[in-house]
C-alpha cells in the first residue's frame, strides 16, 4: 500500500508526463528542421529554428484570421464585462432568486453543445437578420455565452468577496447614480475578478472552433486546422505560441488574484 504522499507524487508525475510528451513532441516537430521520421534522441539539439513562425506570419490568410481572432477576443471580453458586472451586481443586491437563475443559465453552455447553439442561432437569424450571420462579429454574443461558465464564476467570486451592499449604499447616499456606482465603486473593487474574466474570455475565444467552423468564419483555430495540410510546421509553431500566450494569461491571472487578496 502506497502512502498518501507517494500516491500524490506518482499521480503528479504520470499526469505531467502525459501532458509533457505531446508538448515536447510538438515543439520538436515545429521548431526543428529535421524530417519528422528522423526525430530521435540523437538529434535533440540539432537544427532548431523559429523560421516556421515567420513563414506563417508571412501568409496573408494567417494575418487576417489572427486579426479577426484578436478582434473577437477583445469584443467578447468587453461585452462580457459590460453585461455581467452590472447585471450580477444588481442581482446580488436585489434578488437572490434572479442570482440563482443566472447561476444556472451560466453553466448551460457546458450542457448545451456549441453545435446546437449555432444551429439554433443560424436558423433564427439567417432569414431575419442575414447581416448578423454574415458579419464575423455577429459571433460575439455566441462567444460570450460559450465563455459564460468561466466568466460568470469569476465575477461571482469577486462580488461575494466584497461588502457590496454597504459600498453601493454609501456611493448612492453620496449622490452617485447606478452607472457611476457600478463602474467607479464596484468595478475597481473586483478588478482582479474582472481581469481574470477578461483573460478567460480571450482564452476561450482564441481556442473556439465549433462556432467559427459552422458559421464559416476564418478565425485563428480554423486557419491552424486548414494550415496543418499546407504548412504543418508553421501551424504547430503558431499553435504552441497560442498555448504559451494562454498559459501566461492564466499565470498573470493567478498573480492578480493573489495580489488583490492581500
Amino acid at each position: 500500500m502506497m502512502s498518501g504522499r507517494k500516491l500524490w507524487w506518482s499521480v503528479l508525475v504520470v499526469v505531467t508526463v502525459f501532458y509533457a510528451i505531446p508538448m515536447v513532441a510538438m515543439t520538436r516537430f515545429a521548431f526543428q528542421r529535421v524530417p519528422v521520421i528522423k526525430l530521435s534522441w540523437s538529434n535533440v539539439f540539432d537544427k532548431w529554428t523559429v523560421a516556421p513562425i515567420g513563414e506563417t506570419f508571412a501568409d496573408p490568410n494567417f494575418r487576417s484570421s489572427a486579426l479577426l481572432s484578436i478582434g473577437l477576443s477583445v469584443a467578447t471580453a468587453v461585452l462580457t464585462v459590460l453585461l455581467l458586472v452590472p447585471t450580477m451586481a444588481l442581482a446580488h443586491l436585489r434578488s437572490p432568486r434572479v442570482r440563482r437563475w443566472i447561476e444556472v443559465s451560466a453553466v448551460l453552455p457546458f450542457v448545451v453543445p456549441a453545435i446546437a447553439l449555432v444551429v439554433g442561432f443560424a436558423g433564427a437569424f439567417r432569414g431575419t437578420a442575414p447581416l448578423f450571420i454574415r458579419n464575423p462579429y455577429g459571433m460575439v454574443p455566441l462567444l460570450v455565452i460559450t465563455a459564460l461558465p468561466f466568466t460568470h464564476r469569476t465575477i461571482e467570486n469577486g462580488l461575494s468577496s466584497i461588502d457590496l451592499r454597504t459600498l453601493v449604499d454609501a456611493s448612492r447616499s453620496l449622490g452617485a447614480g447606478w452607472n457611476r456606482t457600478i463602474w467607479t465603486v464596484v468595478a475597481p473593487n473586483i478588478r482582479g475578478s474582472i481581469a481574470t474574466a477578461t483573460f478567460l474570455a480571450i482564452t476561450v475565444v482564441l481556442g473556439e472552433f465549433t462556432i467559427a467552423s459552422l458559421l464559416l468564419k476564418n478565425t485563428l483555430p480554423l486557419y491552424l486546422a486548414y494550415a496543418q495540410g499546407q504548412n504543418p510546421q508553421g501551424a504547430f509553431a503558431v499553435g504552441l505560441v497560442l498555448t504559451a500566450i494562454s498559459a501566461s494569461l492564466i499565470g498573470i491571472t493567478n498573480g492578480i488574484g493573489r495580489r488583490s487578496r492581500r
Binding site: 449604499d169 454609501a170 453620496l174 449622490g175 452617485a176
Partner: protein
C-alpha cells in the same frame, strides 16, 4: 440649509414580515434623535427608508416641508455613516472625501479646500494619502463621518456607527460625532441598540419595540419616567421584583407580609412585577426604618458608581442599589435593611 426629518406613520413589510408598523417620529432642525431598540425592532429599516434604500408600503418621510419618497437615494442629499466600514477600499482618504463632491462636479479648488476643512474637523489632518486599510477602526469611522458631511447633507443618518469599535474608541468617536453634529446643526438620526450610547449622545431617544415606537423623550425622561415596562427594562438597569398587590397602591414583596405604597396606576390585585431603578433602592442600617431586610450578596466597586446587591429575606430576591448610604457598612454577608423610593416605580403584570 438645515432641515428637519419626519416619519409620518411609515409602514414597511418584507414579503409577509412586517418591519415597521405605523412608525412616526420627528427630528427637529439641529436635533440628534436616537432610535434605540433590540435587534429586529425595525430601527435600521426606518433609517433605510429615510435614506431611500427601501420604499415604505404606506406613510411618508418628510425633509423640511416636502416628502422625499419620490426621489431616489442618490438625490435625497442625506449623509450616511454605516455600521460596517464603508470607505471605498480602492480610494485613499482624500479621494473618499472627494467622491460626493466629484459627483456634484465641484471644481478641484473647492474639493481641495473642503477636504482640508473636513480633515481638520475630524482631527485627521495629514492622513490624506492613507488607504482605508491603513487606518484604525475609529479613524475609518471618522473619515466616513467626514465623507458624509462633505456634501453638506440636509440630514445625517448614522446606522450603528460605533458598534464595530472597541469600548474606549467607541466613547471617543461618540463624543466626536456629538461635537461635530452640534457644530453643524444638522438634524441627525442615530440608530443604536446600545442604551448607554443613546442616553449619552441624544437630545431625544426614541425607544422602539417590535416595529413600533414605545416612547420618545429626552434621555432623562426616558430613563426616569419610562412610559412602559419595556422601556424601563430596556433603558438602564432596573430591579425587577415579584410582588403581590394588596390593594390600590399597596404591594408586598412576594413571600413577605409587610406592604408598602407604590404609585396607584397598574394592577390592583394579584401577582405583579415592581420595576425600580437601583438609585431608588437605599441600603440602610438594621436599626433604621427598613422596608425589607436582607444580606449583602455582592459589592461591585466602581468608585463613584459602586453598587451593592442585597438578597432580600424572606422573599429571596436580589435587589441592586447604587445608593448605599455611606454610613452603612456594606460588606458581603452583612445583614442590612433596604428602603424603596417608589415614587417613580412601575407596577406591571407584564412578566
Amino acid at each position: 440649509m438645515n432641515r428637519s426629518l419626519a416619519f409620518l406613520s411609515v409602514t414597511k413589510s418584507f414579503g409577509k414580515t412586517l418591519a415597521l408598523d405605523h412608525f412616526s417620529v420627528e427630528v427637529a432642525e439641529g436635533e440628534l434623535v436616537s432610535l434605540l431598540g433590540p435587534s429586529g425592532c425595525g430601527k435600521s429599516t426606518a433609517l433605510r427608508v429615510a435614506a431611500g434604500f427601501e420604499n415604505p408600503d404606506s406613510g411618508d418621510v418628510m425633509v423640511g416641508e416636502s416628502s422625499v419618497l419620490g426621489s431616489p437615494a442618490n438625490e435625497r442629499g442625506m449623509g450616511l455613516v454605516f455600521q460596517n466600514y464603508s470607505l471605498f477600499p480602492h480610494l485613499n482618504v482624500r479621494e473618499n472625501l472627494e467622491f460626493g463632491l466629484r459627483v456634484r462636479r465641484s471644481s478641484a479648488a473647492v474639493r481641495r479646500a473642503r477636504v482640508t476643512e473636513l480633515l481638520e474637523l475630524v482631527r485627521l489632518s495629514g492622513l490624506d494619502d492613507r488607504l482605508p486599510h491603513q487606518l484604525s477602526g475609529g479613524q475609518q469611522q471618522r473619515v466616513a463621518l467626514a465623507r458624509a458631511l462633505a456634501v453638506e447633507p440636509r440630514v445625517l443618518l448614522l446606522d450603528e456607527p460605533l458598534s464595530a469599535l472597541d469600548a474606549t474608541v467607541r466613547v471617543e468617536v461618540r463624543d466626536e460625532i456629538r461635537r461635530i453634529q452640534r457644530g453643524s446643526g444638522i438634524a441627525t438620526l442615530f440608530v443604536t441598540h446600545d442604551q448607554d450610547e443613546a442616553l449619552a449622545i441624544s437630545d431625544r431617544v426614541c425607544v422602539m419595540r417590535s416595529r413600533r415606537v414605545e416612547q420618545v423623550g429626552t434621555p432623562r425622561a426616558v430613563y426616569r419616567y419610562p412610559a412602559t415596562p419595556f422601556v424601563a427594562r430596556f433603558v438602564g438597569r432596573v430591579n425587577d421584583l415579584a410582588v403581590v398587590v394588596r390593594g390600590v397602591g399597596i404591594v408586598a414583596l412576594r413571600g413577605s407580609t409587610s406592604g408598602f405604597p407604590v404609585p396607584q396606576s397598574g394592577p390592583s390585585s394579584g401577582d405583579a412585577r415592581l420595576l425600580l431603578r437601583p438609585e431608588d433602592v437605599r441600603v440602610v442600617g438594621l436599626s433604621d426604618d427598613a422596608l425589607a431586610r436582607g444580606r449583602v450578596e455582592a459589592v461591585h466597586f466602581g468608585g463613584a458608581t459602586t453598587s451593592v446587591d442585597v438578597l432580600l429575606t424572606p422573599s429571596n430576591q436580589t435587589v441592586r442599589s447604587t445608593d448605599a448610604t455611606r454610613n452603612v457598612r456594606c460588606e458581603v454577608g452583612e445583614e442590612v435593611g433596604v428602603v424603596f423610593d417608589t415614587e417613580r416605580a412601575l407596577l406591571t403584570r407584564e412578566p
